[in-house]
């Protein structure tokens, strides 16, 4: 299981096994303030990181940060 959340610390605290850091609470999987092509790139990075996280074995809740998300 992987959870994309804008509040990764909170997701980690409730015990989600794999947490991907999303953008903002109203739009975790992208950034509508960006031009469409850049938003698409961000969305790809977040979902890509989620798929990558699924491939990893974890023992404790772990936060994965998409490369360009900050």
């Amino acid at each position: 299981m992987v959870l994309i959340s804008a509040m990764p610390q909170l997701a980690q605290q409730v015990g989600a096994s794999r947490v991907v850091a999303g953008r903002k609470i109203p739009h975790p999987c992208g950034d509508p303030t960006l031009p469409p092509e850049l938003d698409f790139k961000v969305r790809g990075e977040i979902v890509g990181m989620a798929l990558k996280a699924l491939e990893e074995n974890v023992t404790d809740p772990k936060i994965f940060v998409p490369i360009s998300t900050n």
Binding site: A6, L10, R23, K24, I25, P26
Partner: protein, 430 residues
């Protein structure tokens, strides 16, 4: 900054021919107030009713309640910013009518959705839902209908202005009269006592047509924490909107009768040194912004020399994170912190009470629960409307305003969340 607050208690409100104050009896002319309100073309009709504590009555479409206050000496005006003046308030002399409020009831025709929408709220004057301090005051209810052809922002502006206009009109009745008692509010030096700051967290949003919060009439958006003199709060510098005074939005009356501010003032110079208030806007949308605002609030507290802090918060979830992060930041600086919060816990009280926690938050005052169901029994009469819809987004069905209301949680009940410890709800461990 020295404020004299002169109190004129009201124990009876009588609707009759002319508006006047005779001792503790406030006489109100329906026609006069109605005319004042409908002078604004955006408001087509206004009814005036009186509801009293203990009465079997429900106010529906409850939007806000205002305590009549007026500045009689000193700079600025009460509830500043509404009519343009942003002169700093909190000094001089303010008159207030106590035990009475001007309550607003109106149903916004614009059916919005999400965080910017108007919320249905009911104010109960008796029974299990009478948990508000306004269930203990006589409320002069203005039931207002909107004229057609305007939008939500205009309706809101008109309704809110009407409420404050009526409140001011009533407060003016005290001008030539002598107050029953006068309280002095001043943060005089109190050296040697523990220095305590109050961190007043309030949620709002970055950009909404109608802001959640106003500071001197200006919309608080993504502001970082700032310092406020408690007297500014007593003069109404910090106010909510009038889009529905549901459980997550204390009314204007509650803002100027703030129990934490009152209690800290009472103890100032006796058991503590009250340093003032840090107003902390919350509900940021990224963790980093939440952390930043928490750090900034703690930094201000440290610069003020605080040894202790009380945090309260408002909201239903999101803004809770700032509360916890602020408690953590303060404790790490060595500032002892008490966090006041309601609990979740689910319908049976068996689920996790807090959605997020930090180990540093080791002193928490519980203010009751949001999640429990509540049934409001039928009432003899409803004021504001014949019918209502608790959740307007759920569909067009409406129920009788005076009938039994089975609520899934406390959110639609005025002051259903006791954010500041004003109400009567308690938690029991058993």
């Amino acid at each position: 900054m020295r404020l004299e607050l002169a109190t004129f208690p009201v124990s009876q409100v009588t609707l009759d021919g002319s508006t006047r104050l005779e001792g503790r009896n406030l006489h109100v002319s329906r026609e006069e107030l109605s005319k004042l309100i409908t002078a604004d073309v955006r408001l087509s009709h206004a009814e005036v009713d009186v509801v009293e504590p203990g009465e079997s009555v429900r106010v529906v479409h409850f939007c806000d309640a205002i305590e009549p206050r007026i500045k009689v000496q000193g700079p600025g005006e009460c509830y500043p910013g509404l009519t343009g003046s942003v002169e700093t308030v909190g000094a001089g002399c303010t008159h207030r009518l106590a035990g009475v409020s001007v309550a607003l009831s109106a149903e916004y025709p614009v059916k919005g959705s999400g965080v910017g929408a108007a919320h249905e709220a009911v104010l109960e004057m008796s029974g299990p839902g009478a948990v508000s301090p306004l269930s203990q005051t006589i409320n002069l209810v203005l039931s207002v209908k909107f004229a057609s052809g305007f939008g939500q922002t205009e309706y809101h502006e008109a309704l809110r202005a009407a409420g404050f206009k009526v409140a001011r009109h009533l407060a003016q009745l005290t001008l030539d009269k002598e107050a029953e008692h006068v309280q002095l509010f001043e943060l005089a030096p109190a050296s040697g006592l523990p220095k305590v700051v109050y961190i007043h967290q309030l949620l709002t949003h970055v950009s909404l047509p109608v802001p959640y919060l106003f500071w001197y009439g200006r919309a608080i958006t993504d502001w970082m924490p700032f310092w406020a003199h408690p007297n500014e709060l007593l003069d109404g510098a910090l106010l909510p909107n009038a889009l529905g005074a549901y459980a997550a939005k204390p009314s204007s009356w509650e803002h100027v009768n703030h129990p934490v501010v009152q209690r800290l003032y009472e103890q100032h110079g006796k058991s503590l040194d009250f340093l003032g208030v840090i107003v902390h806007r919350t509900r940021f949308e990224t963790f980093e912004e939440k952390q930043l605002s928490a750090n900034q609030a703690a930094k201000l507290a440290q610069l003020m020399g605080a040894q202790g802090a009380i945090i309260t918060w408002i909201g239903a979830g999101n803004a809770f994170i700032e509360g916890m992060l602020t408690a953590q930041a303060l404790e790490r600086m060595g500032i002892k912190t008490v966090f006041m919060t309601y609990e979740h816990g689910g319908k049976e009280g068996t689920e996790s009470p807090l959605m997020f926690s930090v180990p540093e938050a080791d002193a928490i005052v519980s203010l009751g629960s949001l999640d429990r169901r509540i049934t409001l029994p039928p009432v003899d009469r409803a004021v504001g409307d014949m019918t209502l819809s608790i959740d307007r987004e759920a569909g067009p069905e409406r129920v009788s305003a005076s009938g039994e209301l089975k609520l899934d949680w406390f959110l639609p009940v005025a002051s259903g969340l006791d954010h500041w410890g004003a109400g009567t709800q308690i938690c029991t461990a058993y």
